[in-house]
């Protein structure tokens, strides 16, 4: 009888525990929302300068490295995720041809963050625009809003994701600027992979950084600068 009683108590305890699991996330979220100083500081703004003169038509090394680093299939069907793609552009009036990589431009005023109903799209203090897949409900409004078509929707169940890059069916994803590498002090995979060193990664806010110095000395543009979103990815030679 007493044995039965302890078991019953145990059962009640565990069910209470389960109830707590259900409620706790909300309570806890509330706690962390205010709280500690940010680890990624706004003194830093990560960005890239891409030298299109050094970017070869037909070379796909950055895209391949991106796919490998983040565990993307590399498929190019309309339903496959492409965080990074090479675009070949040709000036209609002059005929000048250029090739360049295109991905999330990590805007200072990201439209995807503005439109996201749940706040799943967000910008870290250091300027990296991310999707919090724990909150994303898969409405795809950010894909409609992005002027660069930088985002992909995961159309199928995935398996064997990379431990550092969780991704899953039914949520939207895009270039993370290899945030898991940047937080460890490394370069994004594409910047490292480029054989011509066409992608320069660094802190735009640090006047002494290589990227800031180069931005001061060469002419660079932001894509769709007319929209005044101030992207962190800059292009040289366009």
């Amino acid at each position: 009888m007493s044995d039965h009683d302890t078991q019953r108590r145990q059962f009640l305890k565990t069910s209470l525990g389960a109830a707590a699991v259900a409620i706790a996330p909300g309570m806890l979220l509330f706690d962390t929302a205010h709280g500690k100083t940010e680890a990624d500081s706004s003194k830093v703004r990560w960005g890239m300068l891409i030298d299109t003169a050094q970017c070869k038509t037909g070379c796909n090394d950055c895209v391949t490295a991106c796919n490998k680093e983040n565990g993307l299939s590399g498929g190019t069907l309309p339903t496959d995720s492409q965080w990074m793609r090479k675009i070949d552009i040709k000036d209609i009036s002059s005929g000048r041809e250029t090739s360049l990589p295109m991905m999330c431009q990590h805007c200072e005023e990201p439209p995807c963050v503005d439109v996201c109903p749940t706040g799943a799209s967000f910008k870290r203090a250091d300027g990296i625009v991310l999707v919090d897949r724990h909150r994303c409900i898969g409405c795809r409004y950010c894909m409609m809003a992005c002027p660069y078509k930088a985002r992909s929707f995961v159309h199928e169940p995935l398996h064997d994701q990379k431990p550092d890059v969780p991704r899953g069916k039914g949520t939207v994803e895009s270039c993370t600027l290899c945030v898991h590498r940047v937080d460890k002090g490394q370069q994004p995979a594409c910047a490292q992979a480029c054989p011509n060193k066409a992608i320069l990664f660094g802190n735009l806010n640090d006047a002494n950084s290589e990227i800031a110095q180069k931005l001061r000395s060469v002419a660079s543009v932001q894509i769709r600068a007319d929209m005044q979103l101030n992207p962190g990815i800059r292009y040289q030679g366009l």
Partner: protein, 122 residues
Amino acid sequence: MKLLVSLLLCLCIPLAWATEANAPKLDIGKGGQCVRDPQWMRKNHMHLLIHQRDEAVRKGIRDEQISLKNCVECHASLKDDSVIAREDSFCAGCHRYEAVKIDCFECHASKRRVALVNKDEK
């Protein structure tokens, strides 16, 4: 009203029976204790994980010790490197017993980064 209450009570009977079965024997992988004692972890691991999750995703504060990746690293089975693959896998076994759905591994890797199994075989 009485009818409703008695109906609900009746529904509880199978649950009470179920608890009489023994708690699951789990494959704890490498095991060991790195955060807190097992009883505390059983009750509170989800709070740690959610806390770490929001800090890491939103603020870039990556506390490796209490990260999901680190849990998997130690607790994945030594047989198949997974925390969910089998009935007695570390995460799946207990969650099945408690009937709490785990949403983690639809996106997160359920296997340790460097497979131990293949190494051992080689």
